[in-house]
């Protein structure tokens, strides 16, 4: 019997010749991620009775959840994180405004195919886009990782999701994810390694691929996996080469690409899956999650015309360049509807700079959009776009739980960035194909 990706990745991380679903292994992650919660984890760490972390070079810390500090309490928290970073000599530290942890660590090429990343953040599943094993863990567990460099993990059963066919015009990876979660339920992938395959996945742009494992946190998944290909290896090798002091000649990039591709892990053709689901991409419609659950999905046509007060494009799910480009295309020469606000928070400083360079930011500003500092923005209600009671926010984020954005009396709908931008122009939930086609 062959092995799944999860079995192979966790065997490698534990230094074992093999591992089977259900087995508990002691794994050594290549990267341990934390963010604004670093100061709280440091307090747990010290309560163990320790002073020095043993893995400063395997730690990555971003300030992203509430940036720049919206109040004195957050400012104090950030100061404690910076002091801890200095004290422990953590080099992979990313300041306020650099961007969201998952986007920044991808851009910095800190995680490679086949590697293990554990983070004190539930969307650490994100790194499956690289063919890495990414999983969220608790704060106490991150403190334990800092103390010992390893953590016990149960090897998950795996679910295979095959996506055949081709996504229709205007239908995105976000619609695919919302459709899958709506069909199989928010616990449909509970505790599993959700391993994607199929021609519709292979055709996706790299930025669209990032959406999928990120959203699988809302499916109950432990991790999610997309098979990495040459485009992924190239992305990583170019970014690794940029950090080298010498010129990044084509041959060097080629060497890196080859070394990175050698790390990639693929499930065996006869791997044992707990379930296999096949979706035909061509039948998937524009999809919207309705309050207050991600699996409360509807085809856009069923909620079209719902009044929108705030339209938000951003987050680790959908705050990248292609998302901002899609929004710019829709609003170009148009205006955000009176009574509606369009808020854009780029996922990173690099995304922001590119959006300016490409003219997307100018187009969006002329249409009446507002830009926020790269980071998580209003996603979890810390600041910078908290809705008022009774308001509707249409968001490109990943969660629409009651109170998620800081106001339990607000309603949050989830959709693709294109749907969010079209709805900002109409002031109500709208199909972007009606606007750009008009």
């Amino acid at each position: 019997m062959g092995h799944t990706f999860a079995e192979k990745a966790l065997a490698r991380a534990a230094g074992l010749p093999g591992a089977a679903a259900g087995q508990v292994v002691d794994a050594r992650p290549d990267i341990v991620l934390s963010h604004d919660n670093t100061a709280a984890i440091a307090r747990i760490f010290r309560s163990i009775g320790l002073e020095r972390v043993v893995i400063p070079d395997r730690m990555a810390i971003t300030l992203d959840h509430a940036v720049p500090a919206p109040n004195a309490r957050h400012a104090q928290n950030h100061a404690e994180v910076r002091a801890f970073v200095r004290e422990q000599g953590v080099r992979n530290f990313f300041e306020v405004g650099r961007g969201i942890c998952h986007q920044v660590l991808s851009e910095e090429a800190l995680v490679l195919p086949g590697q293990l990343i554990l983070g004190a953040d539930s969307h650490t599943t994100h790194f499956g886009w690289l063919g890495a094993f990414g999983a969220g863990v608790g704060r106490t567990e991150v403190a334990a990782l800092w103390a010992t460099g390893e953590l016990w993990l149960r090897v998950p059963e795996s679910m295979k999701i095959v996506v055949v066919g081709e996504l229709g015009t205007g239908v995105t990876a976000k619609d695919l994810c919302l459709h899958v979660i709506g069909q199989l339920g928010a616990d449909g992938g509970l505790y599993q390694s959700v391993e994607f395959a199929g021609p519709a996945i292979e055709r996706l742009s790299l930025e669209s691929r990032m959406v999928i494992p990120n959203m699988m946190a809302e499916f109950g998944a432990k991790n999610a996996y997309l098979p990495p290909d040459g485009a992924v290896f190239q992305y990583l090798s170019e970014r690794r080469a940029r950090k080298l002091p010498v010129s990044n000649s084509k041959s060097q990039i080629s060497d890196h690409t080859s070394a990175i591709s050698n790390l990639a892990l693929y499930p065996d053709p006869d791997a044992a899956y707990a379930a296999v689901h096949t979706f035909d991409a061509s039948t998937i419609e524009l999809t919207v999650s309705c309050p207050h659950a991600v699996d409360a999905t509807q085809p856009l046509s069923a909620v079209r015309g719902t009044r929108v007060h705030q339209a938000f494009i951003g987050t680790c799910t959908n705050g990248r360049l292609e998302d901002i480009a899609a929004a710019a295309e829709i609003v170009k020469g148009r205006k955000v509807a009176p009574g509606t606000r369009l808020l854009i928070v780029p996922a990173s400083s690099e995304v922001y700079a590119e959006a300016i360079r490409c003219g997307y930011a100018q187009t969006l500003l002329e249409a009446g959009a507002v830009f926020g500092t790269p980071g998580c923005g209003p996603c979890m209600g810390n600041h910078m776009g908290v809705p008022a009671p009774g308001e509707v926010c249409l968001s490109s984020a990943n969660r629409n739980f009651k109170g998620r954005m800081g106001q339990p009396e607000a309603e949050i709908y989830l959709a693709s960035p294109a749907v969010v931008a079209a709805s900002a122009v109409r002031g109500a939930i709208a199909d972007p194909r009606e606007i750009v086609g008009a």
Binding site: Q23, V24, A39, A40, I48, T140, A144, L190, Y191, K222
Partner: protein, 186 residues
């Protein structure tokens, strides 16, 4: 395995306990209601509310050493650790379920509560039965029949033995700190 707790090291093949049987999809709110999560700190008080909105008889009648047996997705919902500690403080020896919500499972081990995924024995066991768990042999016995389950790693067993992840780490690293673990909210 000198550092296993008395329940495991002294009776390695016999954690026998009376079964409390529940169904699928039991969430953390009915295991330990959210309204108590920020107000109760005393272990006895936390234990008194265990399964309050699922089975009032449990808090009144459960005995130390009893075993909770449940269906799929035990502990889904919140990450609150009291959903684990309320059972631990009540003296529950183990939870055997068809499956656990991911965060609950980790919280269980890290808080020192034995959690075992064994769907076959869940089908067979009923409230009031006595089942016997052999953690070292990865076997549950009921009515003379054995039900195997995937073995826990020595690490997971020793975390449970130490009473949780923080005490486990202190022991492993030879530390004597007795500082209270503070989990901040920021």
């Amino acid at each position: 395995m000198r550092d296993l707790p008395s329940a495991i090291s002294h009776r390695p093949s016999a954690i026998a306990g009376r079964v409390w049987k529940y169904g699928d999809g039991v969430n953390t709110d009915v295991i330990f209601p959210g309204k108590y999560t920020y107000t109760l700190r005393d272990p006895a008080e936390i234990a008194a509310h265990a399964l309050e909105d699922l089975d009032p008889a449990f808090a009144a009648q459960a005995q130390p050493g009893d075993i909770v047996v449940a269906g799929r997705n035990w502990g889904n919902g919140s990450s609150r650790e009291q959903a684990v500690t309320c059972l631990k403080y009540r003296g529950i020896a183990a939870v055997v379920a068809k499956s656990f919500a991911r965060i609950y499972y980790r919280n269980g081990i890290n808080q020192g509560l034995l959690l075992i995924a064994c769907p076959e024995v869940v089908e067979a066991a009923q409230t009031g039965d006595v089942i016997e768990i052999d953690p070292a042999g990865s076997l549950i016995r009921l009515d003379g029949r054995g039900y195997p389950f995937p073995p826990l790693s020595p690490t997971a067993l020793s975390i449970i033995a130490a009473g949780g992840l923080v005490p486990h780490l202190r022991r492993k690293l030879g530390l004597t700190s007795t500082a209270v673990v503070e989990i901040g909210d920021c």
